[in-house]
Symmetry: C2
Subunit: 231 residues, 2 copies
């Protein structure tokens, strides 16, 4: 039996609490990060709070092994006097939506082998995609996630804007969006590239720019150039 | 029985030819666009050639109803002396991969009701997502497709670069990429946005910029600004 304390009642903390509840080999407790009195002693303490609160919250915990769940923060953001680690799940969590933990990549870091092994055991009880990722790698991964998630979503938003402006239903683009995401499961993104930028089709590029406002033109030009330069 | 001639033996022409072959109510013939002698007379002639060749190829065809398959070109790019139309399928076609035509949006345009009806009938025999899209709308849709397909793929490419540079397997990002694409089937992209840009989390944005080369910094900054400006 592994005892786990979750500190924080946000999206990540609550999803984790609910999935741990279903596992026989885990005894889980959840507390509010703003009420840190009578903290139960557990094998692992998972701090699932906002990045800015990690240092303060962890400094108040004396449990033997404390981890955070942040993609953006180094392991050294933790200020507990005991062992430290990271239990980062690279996925978007929203309150309404059920999470399929079998699809969630667990990115684990710890200061020693035993602690790492314990995190792996826990991750294995709720999921199956498990990676050892140190703080430098996680930082890069977090930036990469901004590109493939936030910035990609903004490309969708611009597509949606253009559809709205010209009274075209956005749903027409859905199959293409899905296909684009699935294509790179079997083909490297560099090899999957098509379109006027990679073909250097100047006539089409000019036609496209004529249709865009200044801010969208800037984005179109800079990404087109980056596709052509291959970097 | 509807007779269809496909002019062009590229990806689009060949996929169309193969799917029409399976339909009882369609009699299909395919010819090479560079060998325009003895052109059979058919109800519909579908020119599936590169954008630059549409004018020249269509000028040589006297069949009653000629359509092209290009997202980037106006209906007026056709130079046949007879009726004109457009049969644009908004999807990426690659030679190796099978196409599920039930998932393909057909964007149809014609000069009169009868011709439009004929195109709808044909599209209905091989697919189910059928839209009337005029040349102005199709132009906007084509630009939108560049954002959600080519530019999104470039975001994946940058994510892949960052993973390679820091020895992180790119597959870790796959579930997030898929989730990002599926999320907007139920949520408008504007409402689906998360991350440091929309939160205006300056500390994280600075950390991210420190990790990027100059060209990626430019892209990061301009998209972050666009997310924050909401346009």
């Amino acid at each position: 039996m592994i005892s786990v304390l979750i500190v924080g009642k946000g999206n990540v903390g609550t999803h984790l609490y609910n999935v741990f509840l279903k596992v026989d080999n885990i005894k889980v407790t959840q507390i509010n990060s703003r009420k840190l009195k009578n903290i139960p002693t557990t094998d692992v303490t998972i701090i699932a709070v906002s990045d800015d609160a990690i240092a303060d919250v962890s400094s108040k915990i004396k449990n033997p092994f404390v981890v955070h769940t942040s993609g953006a923060c180094s392991i050294n953001e933790l200020k507990n006097p005991t062992s430290k680690g990271v239990f980062y799940m690279l996925q978007t969590f929203s309150k309404e939506k059920k999470v399929n933990f079998n699809e969630v990549p667990f990115c684990l870091e710890a200061e020693n082998k035993n602690d790492k092994q314990l995190l792996k055991e826990i991750a294995n009880l709720i999921g199956q995609k498990i990676y050892s990722i140190n703080s430098d790698q996680r930082k890069a991964l977090h930036v990469a996630a901004v590109f493939v998630n936030n910035f990609t979503n903004h490309m969708y938003k611009i597509g949606n804007d253009l559809c709205n402006e010209h009274l075209v239903p956005f749903e027409i683009l859905q199959p293409l969006i899905k296909e684009t995401a699935l294509k790179i499961e079997t083909l490297a993104p560099e090899k999957a590239q098509t379109g006027p930028a990679i073909r250097n089709d100047k006539k089409t590029i000019k036609n496209h720019l004529d249709l865009l406002n200044k801010e969208k033109q800037k984005i179109y030009k800079i990404i087109t150039k980056s596709i052509q330069n291959g970097n």
